[in-house]
Symmetry: C2
Subunit: 372 residues, 2 copies
């Protein structure tokens, strides 16, 4: 058995070898059984090539960047830093199934979290306030149901999703598009610290990798690859979120989309996904139900139940009936019932205490629960 | 050949015969070839029964209401009033295909319009301002594309659909749930007059029929039966619009639904339809393309167009952004912007005057038009 330190050193050296991309890395590992074996074969090849092409001044361009490997190892030596290779038992099994799994994962935080059931919540970097609230609330609900929320640490929906999961007392995984020693965007430095303390930040990119536009689409395949399903909250017609959704579909993962007003340009990406067969999400129950058919949602309120409610007195019933099933302001209820504003307010309070109505934005009231 | 006047009199008499519903009417017409033949058979039956049950004082309850027939004929004698029987060549062919076509149609306006390609645009009687605008704009687009817009003459979305079609210089058909001599709701009397001048009002109910709750679901099968497809703009989870959509699906017609914010209770019916396989509609092109695969849509507007809006100053923009795409009350906007309530109110007024926002029920505001 190779000792873990030199095993990591070999794995990182292979990763840092120019020309060895994720696919070559995987093939070499499979063929030679270990990074050390793969490196030995590569060295052999290099020598052979040098002999054949004696005229070439140098083959240094095919040498691994040893100083970078030292930096990776220094990062790895710090507490809470982990390196997972594809063959490691701790490597997330779901991610291993995708066509091009990253050969190495740099994990800051708890690597065990990567094995928990995850749902990705992703979307626009520049969402509407409503979209942000929806992401946060869906993530909170998923977390509360014991689902780890995965996202991309980006501004906007991603950040709201991570925050919602933390607020829900749950776990969250951030997949970064930079090296593990960099946080992008810098604005999310504090959030990343919170995620590390209560979850994990994961990346396939080694230390020192800056944010590069071409890294983010690649990163997205890991977000979907780790997850049972991907929920898109707000996304433009052409957007990274749609790329992630395509990855998810290719990887056989569920795609969910939250609809929005047709006048919201950030709903267009979601609507395109819905046209392509994504599941429509209004509440967290829509996600849970799809992923776990055993999940029981609370029974939908039945308008027919009016009669079975424990006898609200006639005036209460009058207000309830006037309320209908849409939020309504008090003065509408005054109009509809012919009662005074004071009477309506007093009755609404009673109904609220009985759990039959709730106050809604704009001084409105609406019916809730299984009430009439 | 029976002369048209007495043919109408016989058809109306059969319609007014107690116990002869639409199904019996159709069967009798098929079996006896004409209303006169059917009436002769019924009279025979009545005499037979009277002989058999000589003790019964009267079988007047099975006699047609002759005064009502006189009233129907008086209505029919007026210009622009038409009666179409199922077997008439002018009876709309598409409606004839449904399982329970109305045996007679009372038409005010141009009966030829019923043969034109129609799309129904329907929805809530109490829509949001945004929903009303969407209905009007979709109807205008359909009308401009040469499609007749059919709806139910109800308040809210129906009215907006009829108005949009008229504004688009096109044709519109209103299917009423009352007799042809009554307009319901009264508020739509002027609109009905416009529709008659530029389209048609149709009903299966004879003169004097008041609006009755049980008539509207029946009326809905005619709306979908006349149409190639039904577009639902805003609808509660349990609503007449969903009944019409179910009729449409049963009749093999296309069902379309406009998505909305998950926080808009009137989007729930549409979202339920989308889950059941309705086609998602953002623009009129989505409808035309589905109905006519040869239709070429214009290139989609680019969300980047936001930047081209005539520069509202920074504070105005801040309020607009805080407003998002859902109606929001002023105090939410105060919270979201950090501005004072007075400042927010003043800015909302400016935005309202510029046509960028509108006040919504419950003291809320929402964005309108093509604004940023």
């Amino acid at each position: 058995m190779e000792d873990p330190d030199s095993k990591a050193a070999h794995a990182l050296t292979l990763l840092r070898t120019p020309g060895v991309g994720p696919v070559a890395h995987r093939v070499l590992m499979e063929r030679y059984g270990s990074a050390r074996g793969a490196l030995a074969w590569l060295a052999e090849q290099g020598r052979g090539r040098a002999r054949d092409r004696a005229a070439l001044a140098s083959d240094s361009r095919s040498d691994p960047d040893r100083r970078a490997v030292e930096r990776d190892l220094a990062w790895l030596a710090l507490p809470g830093h982990h390196l997972l290779a594809l063959a490691d038992p701790a490597y997330p099994a779901r991610l291993r199934e995708i066509p091009d799994p990253p050969p190495l994962l740099f994990v800051t935080g708890d690597p065990a979290l990567l094995a928990t059931p995850q749902v990705a919540v992703i979307g626009s970097r520049n969402p509407s306030l409503g979209g942000r609230e929806q992401a946060e609330s869906l993530a909170r609900g998923l977390a509360a149901a014991g689902v780890t929320v995965t996202s991309g640490l980006a501004l906007g929906i991603d950040g709201a999703a991570h925050r919602g999961a933390l607020a829900g007392g749950g776990y969250t995984v951030a997949v970064a598009g930079t090296g593990p020693d960099r946080i992008y965007p810098a604005h999310h430095r504090a959030l990343a610290r919170e995620i590390v303390a209560r979850g994990a930040v994961v990346t396939e990119f080694p230390t020192g990798t800056p944010p590069r536009p071409e890294h983010f689409p690649r990163r997205n395949r890991i977000i979907s690859g780790l997850s049972l399903g991907v929920v898109v909250v707000e996304a433009a017609l052409r957007s990274g979120s749609r790329i992630t959704a395509r990855h998810a579909a290719d990887q056989g993962r569920e795609v969910f989309a939250v609809p929005g007003s047709v006048r919201n340009p950030l709903a267009r990406g979601c609507h395109a996904l819905l046209r392509d067969g994504a599941k429509l999400v209004e509440t967290v129950a829509d996600i849970l139900e799809e992923l776990d058919p055993g999940f029981r949602r609370a029974p939908a309120p039945d308008p027919g139940e009016v009669a079975s409610v424990p006898d609200p007195d006639t005036t209460q019933r009058r207000v309830l009936e006037a309320l209908g099933h849409d939020p309504a302001p008090v003065d509408h209820l005054v109009e509809r019932t012919g009662l005074t504003a004071d009477a309506v307010s007093a009755i609404l309070l009673t109904l609220e205490l009985r759990g039959l109505v709730a106050s809604a934005p704009g001084g409105c009231y609406e019916r809730i629960g299984t009430g009439p």
